[in-house]
Structures are given as C-alpha cells and as structure tokens.
C-alpha cells in the first residue's frame, strides 16, 4: 500500500487529507470516496457525523467567555474550564468546547489573552501582551461557578493546551478544588512573556499569582521557535530551578501529552519532567509522548492534521486520536457516576 496514508486506521484517510483545488467539490457534510482500477470506477458518499447538539451562551462576567452544555442537559454538571494557547482569543475553546460538552459536561470557554493583529485586541478587556496573566482569575471563575445552579462546583477540571497547558499546570499546583487537569503540549516551567507583532519577549513572566510575577525562564536565541526556549533553558539553569511549577502538590488526576517533533517547544520533554516530578511525590500521571508528533495534538480525528508545528501526518493523526481518547477517559474517571 502506498499513498497519503498507510496506517490501518479508519480515520487515516481523513487526517491525511491535503488541499486539492482540482478535486470535485462535494457538499461540506459529505465525504466522497472514489475507487478506481483498470478503468473500473466506483464511488460512495459518507456523511460526516453530526456534531452532538449543545447550547452555547455568553458568560458576561468574563470578556469573551462562553458556556457550552449538552442541549438536553438538566441539573448540575461538572465544569471543564478551557484555556487556549498563544493563538489567543476563543479559537481553541470554540473548537474543543462543544466536543467536551457533548461528553456530558458544562464547558467554560475562558479566553485570557487577545493578541493585537493590527486592529487592537479582538476581545475587549483582555491583555494583548502575554505577560503577567493573573492566574487568580480562576478564583473568580470558581466563585462564579458556585453561583450558577447548572454547575456542580464540587466537580471542576481544566483542559489547556500549549500556553494554556502552562496555565493549567500552574492552576493545578495552586487550587485544590480542581479534580482533573488535561494539559496538552504543556510546560513544566513558567516562561517569559511575549507580545503581539514585534514584541518577541517582555522581560517579565507570562503569568502572575497573587499580584506577584512568578519566577520565569528567559528565552535564549531570538525568535519564537523551539530553539529560543531550548537555548533559554540551557543558558539559564538558575531560572529553570526557580520557575519549575510545583506540580507535585496537585492531588487530582493529571493528563499530559507531548510530541518529540514539536517545533514550538519541547512538549515531550516537559511532559516527561512533569510526570517525573509527580512520581517523585508518589503521584501518578497519565503521560503520552509521541515520537512522530509535533505541537498540534488536538482536533477532531476526521479533520486534516496540522504539520506546520512539527510531526508527521501519520504521527499527528494517531496522536490526535490517542489524546482525545485519554482526555475522555480522564474526565470520566474523575467524575464517573453522577452525571445528571
């Protein structure tokens, strides 16, 4: 067998797709399957699964925030707070939020950074520089959740990716009211801040806590690619020692996932570091490290993968599926029986 996919996985033809302007244009909810041999041609159409119905509403207490719940939900549901990465705004939460909510949870899309792409922040009220983001904002979320009759404030978790994974790990080490945290391509340390456009580094940390800047690791060589972090880590070992997030404090369930071919930062190594530090504290971690995957480990398994931030098509495709399966399992394990 040869071609765009070789994995014996039913979703492989989906995540290995590449743009092809010459291909026929089926309607967007249908996948056309064509088979040809020796002039014989057959085809079929596959209708993509309908997304599970959810209800989405703005949460006006927080800029750009929104709550997603299963359309048929009644009663109090566990809450998952979604923290996106350096892409900012609500892009990641709009994608993963309905997917998580369909599993039977309330999901809070919680933007906390809105980069200035030339016309100011897309979400008014959010910082456009990723510096000293107050982790304490999650305490406000906790208070808000305790007043909403649709949320079980005793069952709260976080899903975060990339910078949101760094945020999630800090939160896990800080707030004992968190039951479960999924940190995808996360960090084991607090990194230096950065900004939109030309602000490559701020000289201040990405996050603050209790009104104080957290110790952070400076970047090394110029740029925002992985080598700026790898060289920073190598050049400033004293920074690393001070900036390590004390994840051994977190008593809840933790999932981390990283790709060894990550071009944004060393998510595999940092996932392993988190896992080791937990182990040193006698705590388990669900740790997924993918040799052939990069930074983009999140997405619907039937969507084409993104290899622009590292990894192979097949590596990222297989990782996406495994990460989603582990994410479902994490929250199901955290809150097994009482889903209302």
């Amino acid at each position: 067998m040869s071609g765009d996919w070789q994995a014996a996985a039913p979703e492989a033809p989906f995540w290995s797709m590449q743009p092809d302007p010459s291909a026929p244009v089926p309607v967007s909810t249908v996948v056309m399957i064509q088979a040809t041999a020796q002039g014989i041609r057959a085809k079929a159409e596959y209708r993509l699964p309908e997304p599970a119905p959810v209800q989405i509403e703005d949460v006006t207490q927080f800029p750009g925030a929104f709550l997603v719940r299963p359309a048929s939900a009644t009663g109090r549901l566990p809450l998952i707070i979604v923290l996106g990465g350096s892409e900012g705004d609500d892009h990641t939460a709009r994608g993963i939020g309905p997917q998580l909510a369909a599993e039977g949870y309330a999901v809070l899309g919680f933007p906390y950074y809105s980069p200035d792409r030339g016309r100011g922040p897309a979400i008014a009220g959010l910082p456009s520089v990723f510096a000293e983001i107050p982790v304490d904002r999650l305490e406000e979320v906790h208070r808000w959740a305790s007043t909403d009759p649709r949320i079980d404030v005793n069952r709260i978790g976080i899903w975060g990716q990339s910078k949101g994974g760094e945020f999630a790990i800090i939160a896990a080490a800080t707030y004992p009211w968190l039951d479960a945290v999924a940190a995808i391509v996360p960090s084991d340390v607090v990194w230096e801040g950065f900004g939109s456009g030309t602000i490559e580094r701020t000289g201040t940390p990405s996050f603050s806590l209790g009104g104080k800047p957290l110790p952070f690791v400076r970047y090394g060589v110029p740029g925002r690619a992985r080598d700026s972090k790898d060289t920073g880590r190598a050049q400033y070992p004293q920074d690393v020692a001070a900036a390590l997030i004390p994840i051994g404090r977190f008593r809840g369930l933790l999932l981390v996932a990283g790709g060894e071919q990550d071009r944004t930062w060393n998510s595999a190594g940092m996932s392993q570091s988190i896992t080791q530090r937990r182990k040193d504290s006698g705590l388990p971690t669900v740790s997924l490290v993918f040799p052939d995957a990069g930074h983009a480990l999140v997405g619907g398994s039937l969507e084409p993968v993104d290899v622009s931030r590292g990894g192979t098509v097949e590596g990222n495709g297989a990782a996406q599926k495994a990460v989603w399966a582990a994410t479902r399992e994490l929250f199901r394990t955290a809150w097994p029986a009482r889903r209302e």
Binding site: W5, P10, E11, A23, S28, A35, T36
Partner: protein, 72 residues
C-alpha cells in the same frame, strides 16, 4: 473445434460503507470495503471533502492498494 473461453461477467465494483457494522468507537470514522475490483490490480482510493465552510478547494487523500478485500 476450439471454443473461445467465455469470460465470466465482471463483478460490479462497489465501495461499501460498513460503518453501521463496525464503527470506530472513538472517532466514528467509516469502515469502507471495496468489492468487485479485479484481483491483483492496483486500486486507487480517494477520500475527498470540502473544508468546514463548504468552500473550495477540496481536500483529498489518496492511497493505492492491492489486491482483494480491503477494510479501512
């Protein structure tokens, strides 16, 4: 007298979605079976879709198989 062999009528080539029998439990991806193609022939299979906004260009993934029954 030699009789020319009579070729059996070719089986009708089909692409069959067998999702309802064995759906992938995590992704819901279809399982597809190709039937009726000539044995020992390379079969080229393409999956084509448009992006979520329904606008071109389409996306395509193509692979070639040989021979016989193929489940993916």
């Amino acid at each position: 007298m030699l009789m020319a062999p009579v070729a059996a009528p070719p089986a009708r080539a089909q692409v069959v979605d067998v999702t309802s029998r064995k759906p992938d439990p995590i992704t819901g991806a279809p399982r597809v079976r190709l039937t009726g193609f000539p044995a020992n022939a390379d079969v080229e299979v393409s999956f084509i879709r448009t992006p979520p906004d329904g606008l071109p260009p389409s996306f395509r993934a193509t692979a070639r198989y040989r021979p016989g029954r193929m489940d993916r």
